[in-house]
């Protein structure tokens, strides 16, 4: 009796499996299905819909995951040799890691990527390629930085509130710190949230960061890195000691515990979400000294894909200037294609929350001011180590010199291990 039941269950399982298989293989033979892995917030969905309407033989299957899960899934699938999608998004922090293993991706140059290179920001395109001319991916959006400031707190501190005057006053980092000190003393607010963020912004203005173009470590002699470290570490009194991406940050933003926020375009939404009551209290100006980039992604075609040409045709359409304009209008993701920065709708991108009707112009200018800088796969590890070092001084767990020495030692240890 029991035995028969066992067979029955086995039979049932097998038939279910069979049906499942049949379901998968069925479908029209001329229809191509492209799988696409994204993380949330890319704003690409509507345009993907449109592409499918115009190209009925292509079906795009989107799979969304959380930011770091997405990248880990992708790495696992690539290492496993199967299961990777036809198209995968890669965020700028991961570009070097994937470029180092270019054999895992189709070289988009082979499918015509070089013809459209001129459409994109030169520095971002260089990041997407390597010395041999391999093209890892096509740029989606970019994160050129401006700076948002709270007009009410600036006024309280006796600082100017008009954006032009602010830009003039805060033209150098020293001036920024000086104004910050005045603000910190006059109000119960601070100039910015936490040391590591200022360090990041000044670092991103560098023409060379931790490595020279040959890949040698220049951490201890890199002018801009030392400058970023000194300015940050010697003036910790103007920062509030509140890490980004915590609940504390949101609460502090709403309460006005810090008066300036370094502002890549995607930060606009984060400010609105966390501090809805501060609408109209903000204004935007350029960052002292130079611009810098924070974030943005590429769309890549993993080598496991059987349809690289179709995938390339699709993403080169999706990320062409016309579509980037549509995405920008709908979601505010800032385009990587400078040809549309002059477009009226980009120029007049307005936001009452920030009291600006020319945000697009500002970000466009900032994007064009960004310079290419060499990064290595180790860059993000070093960023983490230095960020922790600054925070340890903020927390009072280490002295400045001690923190620097420990960090340099740790950086060297991590590099030696490679």
């Amino acid at each position: 009796m029991l035995k028969r039941l066992g067979y029955l269950v086995l039979l049932l399982c097998m038939s279910v499996a069979l049906v499942a298989c049949a379901g998968k293989s069925g479908g029209k033979s001329d229809e191509i299905e492209l799988t696409m892995w994204l993380f949330s917030g890319t704003g690409l969905e509507e345009q993907i819909e449109k592409y499918q309407e115009d190209n009925p033989n292509i079906k795009i299957k989107i799979q969304d995951a959380e930011y770091s899960d997405h990248h880990n899934n992708l790495i696992t699938a690539l290492a496993a040799g199967s299961g990777a999608p036809d198209i995968a998004i890669v965020e700028s922090d991961y570009i070097e890691r994937f470029k180092e293993n270019s054999q895992q991706f189709h070289d988009l140059a082979e499918y015509g990527a070089n013809d459209i290179a001129g459409d994109y920001l030169e520095w971002r395109w260089r990041e997407a390629t390597n010395e041999e001319g391999f093209v890892l991916g096509i740029p989606t959006d970019v994160g050129p930085m401006a700076m948002a400031y709270r007009m009410d707190i600036f006024e309280q501190a006796g600082l100017p509130t008009d954006p032009d005057e602010v830009a003039q006053l805060l033209s150098t980092w020293d001036a920024y710190i000086e104004a910050g000190r005045q603000l910190t003393q006059a109000t119960d607010s601070h100039m910015y949230n936490a040391g590591p963020d200022l360090f990041r912004v000044i670092r991103e203005q560098a023409e060379a960061q931790y490595f020279d173009d040959d890949g040698n470590l220049i951490l201890e002699s890199s002018e801009q890195i030392l400058k970023a470290w000194d300015i940050t570490i010697n003036n910790l009194d103007v920062q509030a000691g509140i890490d980004r991406e915590t609940t504390e940050w949101g609460a502090a933003l709403a309460r006005g515990d810090f008066a300036t926020v370094f502002l890549p375009p995607w930060m606009l939404q984060q400010i609105k979400d966390n501090a809805p009551d501060t609408a109209g209290l903000w204004n935007v100006t350029q960052i002292p000294e130079a611009s810098g980039n924070w974030g943005g992604s590429l769309l890549t075609v993993p080598a496991q894909s059987d349809y690289p040409q179709e995938a390339y045709d699709f993403i080169s359409w999706l990320l062409a200037p016309e579509q980037q304009l549509e995405i920008f209008k709908m979601h505010g993701n800032f385009p990587a294609t400078p040809s549309i920065y002059d477009n009226e709708e980009v120029q007049n991108y307005s936001d009452d929350f920030f009291n600006r009707d020319d945000l697009g112009t500002m970000f466009g200018e900032a994007a064009l001011r960004v310079e290419y800088v060499y990064r290595s796969p180790m860059t993000s590890t070093i960023n983490d180590i230095l960020g922790d070092a600054i925070m340890s001084v903020v927390d009072g767990e280490a002295e400045a010199d001690e923190a620097w020495n420990t960090a340099v030692e740790e950086v060297k240890r991590q590099l030696d291990r490679q």
Partner: protein
């Protein structure tokens, strides 16, 4: 006589023969029935286990080529990896800070829940066990906001009572205490239920006799409950040890702090694999972790023997 004997022998033989065959087919179907577990275990348990041994002898960034380096990963781990040894100390500190108060609290709670006069026992038991089935990620996120330095509810109460607020995420001890509290909150109820079942095995006669002799509740607890519960307490200590060596989600979500004060062994393993992509090295860390847990369990067993005898 002899003939009957022979016939009977024949019958018995036949029976045995049948029984043997029946047994054999039963064996096969039995094996088939339990095979799913072994197949799944082989694929998801045994193979990865064996493969980490292989991996630990390679330098492997997962995406790139594997490079055989023998025992270099282990050598590096023992000679030049302050972070790993820091994570070992952190793990033991956090384990101690969470386990000791947790077990004491659980025992007291179980004792109260077991008292005869308590009404609504079912509800209390459920309430006490609830944290254990709450999503650990949700717990860590809620506790992280509660332990906020500027806007956390715990510092708010500290200030209300005239105490200085504590920089939970910024100081060594603050972070470790915060993580310990999260673990405690989650596991006190679980241990309480285990203790409760142990308490119910203690004869009521003992308590009645003690009450007649005029022993107070405190005396009853110390001289009847605790000694009778010794084997169960030891069981929970071993369970907490195994759990405590694997603390991961709490420090990952709360943040390990600027001087790695919240970096536990498993979090270090994860970081090696998924933020620094040194999969070979992470595999070596996993094996050392395995031996540390074995060693610690042996010490545990030894102590248990000494206490028992």
């Amino acid at each position: 006589m002899g003939l009957i004997d022979l016939e009977r022998k024949e019958q018995i033989k036949e029976k045995k023969y049948r029984a043997y065959h029946l047994q054999r087919s039963n064996n096969i179907s039995g094996l088939l029935f339990i095979s799913p577990f072994y197949i799944i275990f082989a694929v998801f348990g045994l193979f990865p286990l064996a493969f980490t041994i292989v991996m630990s002898f390679y330098r492997w960034s997962m995406l790139g080529e594997k490079q055989f380096i023998g025992f270099d990963n282990y050598k590096l781990l023992f000679t030049n990896d302050p972070l790993f040894w820091l994570s070992v100390t952190n793990t033991f500190k956090i384990w101690f800070m969470s386990t000791v108060p947790q077990l004491i609290l659980a025992l007291i709670l179980a004792f109260i829940l077991n008292m005869a006069f308590l009404k609504g026992k079912g509800i209390f038991r459920l309430a006490v066990f609830m944290p254990n089935i709450t999503s650990i990620v949700a717990v860590a996120i809620v506790f992280s906001s509660m332990f906020g330095t500027n806007y956390g509810v715990i510092n708010y109460f500290l200030e209300l009572f005239g105490l200085n607020p504590i920089d939970w995420s910024g100081t060594r001890i603050g972070t470790q205490v915060a993580i310990s509290v999260m673990i405690m909150w989650r596991w006190v109820g679980y241990n309480t239920i285990i203790y409760l079942s142990g308490l119910q095995g203690i004869s009521k006669d003992l308590y009645e006799a003690a009450t007649i002799d005029g022993a107070s509740t405190r005396q009853q607890f110390l001289y009847i409950t605790v000694p009778m519960m010794r084997p169960i307490i030891l069981f929970t200590v071993i369970l907490s040890t195994i759990g405590g060596m694997q603390i991961f989600t709490e420090p990952l979500l709360f943040g390990k702090g600027s001087v790695n004060q919240g970096l536990t062994m498993t979090l270090y393993l994860y970081e090696e694999a998924f933020t620094r992509y040194s999969f070979g090295y992470a595999a070596a860390v996993a094996w050392i972790l395995f031996f540390i847990i074995i060693l610690f369990s042996l010490v545990n067993m030894l102590l248990t023997r000494i206490i028992r005898s």
